[in-house]
């Protein structure tokens, strides 16, 4: 047995995901019934073997190769080699034909379809966001290799990867036998000298990160700013009258600095309320930047900040705290629904 590889400090179940042993008494709103709620977990941990599929992961880890399998009878090639027998072909004794394993695949291929992009990942995957996850056809393979897709040009937006986009498989510097040891980037983003090279590692590419620039202050926006602040203030004040909105903010505390082309302010989320603060705040948890402050008025009318970030109309300094933005986006609908119910629509 070789020595154990590990990522120090990283756990299969993040510590912050594990609740203490707790209980509480909650009253069901439907029937006013007092209920006991307890924290529970169903968990199982594994030393999970990749078994007969191990050669695929070993080839990635040790040789930076992608391997597939071929049926000697029908010539079907599959990558990844997710099984060891052809499900179509049989031998004379009626058993299934064994695939020839270890067929080395090319490392340039094309996307089978447009991959979905996850901008707002849950905690397990937040460190990768934004990422796409699609399927790539390599060489003669009839099956597609599931693969994460990234761009070297910054924020991954729809349109960079489409069905048929040529991609190159790139390997992580540290490879531990997971399907995240490799990923794909558009071939056109790979320097020409590396395109035909096999086993290219992530460090051989130039990665541009998303930069948050200070929005330029304009006279027009500056003039509009006080009225916009009033609108935002009125909106966040409505949370006090909306049980749904308060529930959206349960157990959540953040200091958010909002920088716009009209000026700055802060939103303080605490105790199921949001307070608008015009004064400077120290050490914000999150910075939200947008050139046009009128977009905030849009937000108070139901526009999504998530969409603004996606389209580049706004930015945040920490994509891993998107949960806060989700919560801000939920508020309008919650306030509206409570108001509609109260007013009998």
């Amino acid at each position: 047995m070789e020595k154990i590889m590990r990522i120090p400090g990283e756990y299969v179940i993040p510590h912050e995901a594990i609740p203490e042993v707790m209980s509480r008494i909650s009253v069901s709103p439907e029937d006013n019934f007092a209920c006991v709620e307890r924290t529970e977990a169903m968990y199982t941990t594994y030393w999970a073997s990749a078994g007969e599929l191990s050669p695929f992961f070993l080839a990635v880890m040790k040789q930076k190769k992608i391997i597939g399998a071929r049926c000697p009878k029908c010539n079907m090639v599959i990558c990844p080699p997710y099984m060891t027998r052809c499900p179509v072909c049989q031998k004379e004794d009626f058993s299934l034909v064994d695939l020839e394993m270890g067929v080395e695949m090319p490392q340039v291929g094309y996307m089978l379809g447009t991959p979905p992009i996850t901008v707002f990942a849950n905690a397990r995957f937040a460190r990768y966001a934004p990422f796409g996850r699609g399927r790539v056809i390599l060489g003669e393979s009839q099956s597609a290799l599931p693969i994460q897709v990234f761009t070297t040009t910054g924020f991954l937006r729809p349109g960079i990867f489409k069905a048929g986009t040529k991609v190159k498989v790139i390997f992580r510097k540290s490879r531990m036998g997971f399907s995240t040891d490799y990923f794909a980037v558009p071939l056109e983003e790979v320097p020409e000298k590396l395109r035909d090279k096999k086993g290219v590692e992530e460090t051989a590419l130039k990665w541009k990160s998303q930069e948050l620039s200070e929005p330029p202050i304009t006279e027009t926006y500056k003039k509009q700013f006080p009225k916009i602040l009033q609108t935002v203030n009125k909106f966040v004040a409505a949370i006090a009258k909306s049980p749904r909105a308060q529930s959206d903010l349960t157990n959540w505390a953040r200091k958010i600095l909002v920088k716009t082309g009209g000026g700055k302010f802060a939103l303080i989320l605490d105790k199921q309320r949001i307070k608008l603060v015009k004064e400077k705040i120290s050490r914000p948890d999150l910075v939200l930047v947008m050139e046009d402050p009128n977009r905030l008025v849009g937000w108070t009318n139901g526009d999504s900040i998530v969409n603004m970030i996606r389209t580049g109309a706004a930015g945040v300094n920490n994509l891993q705290d998107m949960e806060t933005i989700f919560k801000l986006d939920r508020l309008h609908r919650s306030i509206r629904r409570d108001a509609e119910e109260k007013g009998g629509r």
Partner: protein
């Protein structure tokens, strides 16, 4: 060759609980028993006459118990009788329907329960202090653990990839104004379903267009199904017994005329035996098998209760089932096929997006609604559809016909 069961089977009783985002005051056992009790009442049936049953329980994690069906038997009045647990991804409900049908059609039993129940939102993510990430993560455990799950495959990806690849092939279909109109109709229809989860919502095209993308341009937040806690019970009886029960209740038997099922392979590729991009072939195959068994076609159907996990998938599935051509799913509205613009009632319950989606029993909930519409409106044929599993692999279709008392 047309395959006909040994005996005809009818739905003679049905009950569904109200759909709620969370039933804080009810456990999964109580929801299941409530549904059974209501169905017995609907069929005016002595529980001792029920000979067995099938129960749809989507997954053990939501149920907080491995082998959760073991607790249900006694609650359902089936002590010392057979109860089969079915789990088949999102299509658990329709596959439970098949098992319960076959228990009667085979001649083994005369009367059985077909139950589905779900409690999902006890799950809770202590990092975001909300339920949704944990619900979604639970579903995401269904991805292949070696080649896909570590890559961050989400529950939404499951249909997102299918829809995006359909859009690759048909870029001019699934237009947003059509999707907005479909959502408006579904939302309106939910208002006449007393058990619908989102009865108080108002949906406009503007609200749909402002809704955040979950996967761009596949679907937005308002186009996704809700998560629901609830239960539904149907009572199936054999020909001869069904008429006797229905004479007592005064409600017509709803005959199960056709059933079809097909599952696509897990792995995607460029040719069979792999799943192909841009298609939900399982829906196509299942519908054709069911039409053939019933001896009818899509033109004979009056009501469709379709498993609309995501709105664009509703359109694709309608095309796969032959109501509109592939690539022209927007014809549902543009060619006035779907009510209220046309004659065909699609998801009068509000569907899974506005009615509710308690996975183990969603397709029973659809059957409950279809039966209600057939009886209420005096219509002849309804089609029930279920889909599920990663990449919408599993498909099931049942065709119902209103009988006479």
């Amino acid at each position: 060759m047309r395959k006909v069961p040994k005996r005809k089977v009818a739905i003679v009783g049905a009950f569904t609980t109200p759909c709620r985002a969370r039933w804080l005051s009810k456990t999964i056992w109580e929801l299941g028993q409530w549904a059974v009790s209501g169905a017995l009442q609907d069929a005016k049936l002595d529980i001792s006459r029920v000979e067995g049953g099938a129960i749809g329980l989507y997954n053990d994690i939501f149920a907080r118990q491995a082998i959760p069906e073991c607790s249900f038997l006694g609650h359902m009045g089936l002590a010392f009788k057979p109860l089969v647990r079915v789990t088949n991804g999102g299509a658990t409900g329709i596959y439970t329907f098949m098992v319960a049908h076959d228990m009667v059609a085979s001649g083994r039993h005369d009367i059985v329960f077909c139950v589905g129940t779900e409690k999902a939102t006890d799950t809770y993510d202590f990092m975001s202090e909300t339920q949704t990430p944990e619900v979604v993560q639970t579903i995401a455990w269904s991805w292949d653990p070696l080649f896909e799950r570590d890559q961050g495959a989400t529950a939404a990806d499951s249909y997102g990839e299918v829809i995006l690849s359909y859009m690759d092939q048909y870029p001019h279909d699934l237009k947003m104004p059509i999707r907005g109109e479909l959502l408006r109709i579904l939302c309106e229809q939910a208002k006449s379903n007393p058990n619908a989860q989102r009865r108080d919502e108002i949906v406009t095209l503007e609200r749909v267009e402002n809704s955040p993308w979950i996967i761009e341009p596949a679907f937005r937040k308002l186009e996704t199904c809700v998560y629901t806690e609830g239960a539904c019970c149907l009572i199936f009886a054999s020909e001869g017994v069904a008429e006797e029960i229905c004479n007592d209740t005064g409600q017509p038997p709803i005959w199960i005329e056709g059933l079809g099922f097909a599952n696509e392979p897990y792995w995607w590729g460029i040719q069979h035996p792999h799943k192909l991009p841009g298609r939900i072939e399982s829906d196509h195959l299942a519908a054709n098998i069911a039409y053939e068994m019933a001896g009818i076609g899509p033109r004979d159907i009056n009501v469709v209760e379709l498993h609309d996990a995501f709105l664009p998938q509703l359109e694709i599935t309608m095309a796969e089932m032959g109501f509109v051509p592939l690539g022209q799913a927007d014809d549902l509205i543009e060619k006035k096929i779907m009510a209220p613009h046309g004659q065909l009632l699609v998801n009068p319950s509000g569907g899974l997006i506005y009615g509710g989606h308690f996975v183990g029993g969603s397709n029973m909930f659809s059957a409950w609604s279809a039966r209600r519409e057939l009886i209420r409106r005096g219509l002849d044929y309804a089609l029930i559809h279920g889909t599920g599993a990663s990449s919408s692999q599993y498909g099931g279709v049942a065709i119902l016909k209103r009988g006479v008392v």
